[in-house]
Amino acid sequence: MKILVPVKRVVDYNVKVRVKPDNSGVDIANVKMSMNPFCEIAIEEAVRLREKGAATEVVAVSAGVLQCQETLRNAMAIGADRAILIETDVELQPLAVAKLLKAIVDKEQPGLVILGKQAIDDDANQTGQMLAALLGWGQATFASKVEVNGNTATVTREVDGGLETISLKLPAIITTDLRLNEPRYATLPNIMKAKKKQLDNVKPAELGVDVTPRLTTLKVEEPPKRQGGVKVADVAALIDKLKNEAKVI
């Protein structure tokens, strides 16, 4: 079975982003870019499934600017066998990405697609579910445990209030939550090996997909700042403030 893993290049999670003074967006010039952490977990899970013998090939795919090649090389350093870049300078929204990925799925015919549950830039949390819809496949979001047995995958999901386990008929879509696994570090030999792995390049037009955005961002602002308050001396002072000033107890 082949596993397809879409990955996204995003502003590194350690970077504190700043809103541009003209409110047109956030300033991402000269900031460190990395693979979205949830996508890293997806790659790791796919590689583990191949190592366990549940899969034969792991294909990473990314959509975006040419520099996404670095993200794909990183995916191959973790263990993906080859990669595909859908290259475009157009701002891609989740529905467009899902349509691009559907075109790749139609070509590659994977038995399973594993994606991160959300990207830490737009925080949309949509692409996996949308891809499942377009393919007519089952979906398991927020996975914290995945087992593949023949034609089914058993997935434990993090839901409000606890955990839920469902069984999916393959092919299917899984999106990863934080605690599914801890991705390995790419070792230097594997980084070198990844440079020689196959990386194909396609354009949205070749896939016959219209990626025109449906949503327009009118402005991006700083959230209202919360002001720090006062330090209190002891428990008695704290209780006094909560009762008489804030009146919350």
Binding site: K16, V17, V26, Q93, P94, L95, I120, D121, D122, D123, A124, N125, Q126, T127, Q129, M130, A133, L134, W137, G138, Q139, T141, F142, T154, R157, V159, D160, G161, G162, L163, E164, T165, I166, L168, A172, L178, R179, R214, L215, T216, T217, L218, V220, E221, E222, P223, G228, G229, V230, K231, V232, D234, V235, A236, L238, I239, L242, A246, V248, I249
Partner: protein
């Protein structure tokens, strides 16, 4: 213009997040209808009909919805979607799974986690873990939205007079099936709906200490209990306790952060609380920069004192 709210429920009653979504639908304007897709769910439908602002409840009552499987829920929404200008769901695990599937089936964009209705086409939503707010306008004929519950007041759950209409139930897709669930049983209020939350971080040192130190305080205040990601990753408490960007977003009247340093990802989940109290031994902890009342001290002394004095 008419809005369809996808209800989150347990067949017998509505989940409180649904009430916040109904408020968002009322803010958009036009009729508000609620879809209850469940099994033996007439009680949940009746509850939805009582909510102020709801004019009609669509009840899809059948075996396909016994386990609230996403594929069947999305197909049910799509079956009734024609004629609605807006389709709204709570930004919960359930809503976040169903809404994008609905949007893609309708070939529409989805706008996630809205915190403000600007007008019928324009919404505000947080990006970059709440470090920026984007105002987004949709050009689609149907807007599919998920709603951050803490950003909208709950609609009154009695006094309404909606009509309940039964609709044809979709067939089971056969794509997924329920195996088991481990839902944390608790006498406490639900985290996202609680008026007071007592939350603990790595400073507590262990799961035993977390329970020993925080439970008496939470009991006194009838509070829900939460935790930072550090405390969850260290195994002190289960995942569903986690407050933060990748956990639950909360906004109670009072949030007491104990032994929590205040990482950005935690602050993203609780900074809209009305009053924040921080108890930490490190006077430079970032949590103090957002706390209304900070108490610098040893939590193992201060918290029991606080619980005893209440």
């Amino acid at each position: 213009m008419a809005n369809l709210v996808i209800a989150e429920h347990d067949h017998g009653s509505l989940k409180s997040a649904t009430l916040n979504v109904i408020s968002a639908a009322v803010a958009i304007g036009g009729d508000v209808h609620v879809l209850v897709a469940g099994t033996n769910a007439s009680a949940a439908a009746a509850a939805a009909a009582q909510v102020v602002g709801v004019s009609k409840v669509l009840l899809a009552d059948g075996p396909a919805h016994a386990r609230l499987l996403t594929e069947n829920a999305a197909a049910q929404v799509v079956a009734v979607a024609a004629g609605y200008s807006h389709i709204l769901a709570p930004a919960t695990a359930y809503g976040k799974s169903v809404a994008p599937r609905v949007a893609a089936l309708l070939d529409k964009a989805q706008i996630s986690d809205i915190i403000k209705v600007v007008d019928a086409d324009t919404f505000q939503r947080p990006i970059y873990a709440g470090n920026a707010y984007a105002t987004v306008k949709s050009s689609d004929s149907i807007k599919v939205l998920t709603v951050r519950g803490t950003a909208f007041n709950a609609a009154a759950n009695s006094g309404g007079s909606g009509a309940v209409e039964s609709i044809t139930v979709v067939n089971d897709s056969g794509l997924s099936s329920f195996v088991s669930a481990e839902i944390t049983k608790s006498e406490r209020p639900e985290l996202t709906a609680a008026k007071i939350i007592v939350s603990g971080g790595r400073g507590l040192g262990s799961g035993d200490k977390y329970r020993e130190v925080l439970t008496p305080l939470a009991d006194k205040l009838n509070a829900a209990m939460g935790a930072s990601r550090a405390a969850v990753d260290a195994g002190f408490v289960p995942n569903d306790y986690q407050v933060g960007q990748t956990g639950k977003i909360v906004a109670p009247d009072l949030y007491i952060a104990v032994g929590i340093s205040g990482a950005i990802q935690h602050l993203a989940g609780m900074k809209d609380s009305k009053v924040i109290v921080a108890i930490n031994k490190d006077p430079d902890a970032p949590i103090f920069s957002v706390a209304d009342y900070g108490l610098v001290g040893d939590l193992f002394e201060v918290v029991p004192q606080l619980a005893a004095a209440l």
